[in-house]
Symmetry: C2
Subunit: 204 residues, 2 copies
């Protein structure tokens, strides 16, 4: 694709470096911005730079934050004894949007995956163990992907916490609401059969 | 969607104002940028602002340009007697990428569309007529979308140029009706340039 302007081309190339954005989409976005008020382009540029330079990671849970402590950890109304362990920040956002969880989080920053060269040292596992060892946390809920990597990570952390009294649980695996039974994979279906619940407990 | 950081939320909101980008996609893009080097966010922001503030429209053909005259108009190797009339800059880029056209362009900036309140005065039609009246242009090739608006625009401009000797043609309808020019494959677009027809033959 030959572009008539080097400045345009530069903007297109920069946008096309983002995941899922090809050159044609990038061009459409830049041409859209050119049609808008200058303030919109300025606001977008500033917001991107500010998000990159000024956001931090919470020094307790490693969630993204505007300060040294994230708004979730800073909220003393939340249950400090309940800790939800997730892979990344998107999982925190997903769980927060359910409005069903009132505890704190711990973002691992990934899952143990020897094939990708990710070992426990590259994740925030040591800080998690330290948090639990302080004794305040009563329950650790693992909300990680049901994959080999997820299971490995759970297993590894559980081993590290054997000497504590902290209860370790994982979110339920089963058939999704609205999911068709016949399209569910055998593993999920088998799990949901094994972990069946009394109807009165399920209906609550 | 509740985000844990106001800075993050701001960046997501700004990105989500772009066409075809929803909040979830915007979040994915911002989180990607946060994982990258700071220089990438800076480069992206700078490229966007520069593209918006420093690009101009060529004062002859209204193509996007880094200076007062675009690189196509400035290129004296190109056939100055051949003028391709297009709706917008994306069409110029699409035709240029076929490498089948060696003339100059004239970007109308839209098509006549009374329903959308776009009349001839809002388009670069007067300047086109003046360019042709200078006498150098021998042929005007319309490469506009095959829609009612496109046909209306061709008809209107043709009427305005009846007193000149300029030949008026249109690209062949190798492109499906209802298809957008910018999404056509290069081969079809190149063929339709080669097989252009005189307007009176086409309108029959």
């Amino acid at each position: 694709m030959q572009l008539p302007s080097a400045l345009l081309e530069n903007a297109v190339n920069e946008l096309a470096r983002l995941p899922g954005i090809g050159k044609k989409t990038a061009l459409r976005l830049v041409l859209h911005l050119l049609r808008q008020d200058e303030s919109q382009a300025q606001a977008l540029a500033q917001a991107i730079v500010k998000a990159k330079t000024e956001t931090q990671f919470c020094n307790q849970c490693f969630n993204i934050s505007d300060g040294a402590e994230c708004s979730i950890c800073a909220n003393k109304q939340r249950n400090q004894q309940l800790l939800c362990v997730v892979e990344n920040i998107r999982d925190v956002i997903a769980i927060e949007s359910t409005q069903q969880f009132n505890g704190l989080y711990h973002v691992l920053g990934g899952l143990i995956s020897p094939l990708d060269g990710i070992g426990p040292d590259q994740l925030h596992i040591e800080t998690l163990v330290q948090r639990v060892e302080k004794g305040e946390v009563q329950e650790l809920i693992f909300a990680v992907s049901p994959t080999i990597q997820g299971d490995t990570t759970i297993y590894f952390i559980q081993k590290q916490l054997q000497h504590t009294t902290c209860k370790i649980t994982t979110i339920a695996r089963g058939i999704a609401f609205g999911g068709e039974l016949e399209y569910a994979d055998e593993f999920t279906l088998a799990r949901s059969l094994t972990n069946r619940l009394p109807v009165n407990q399920y209906i609550q």
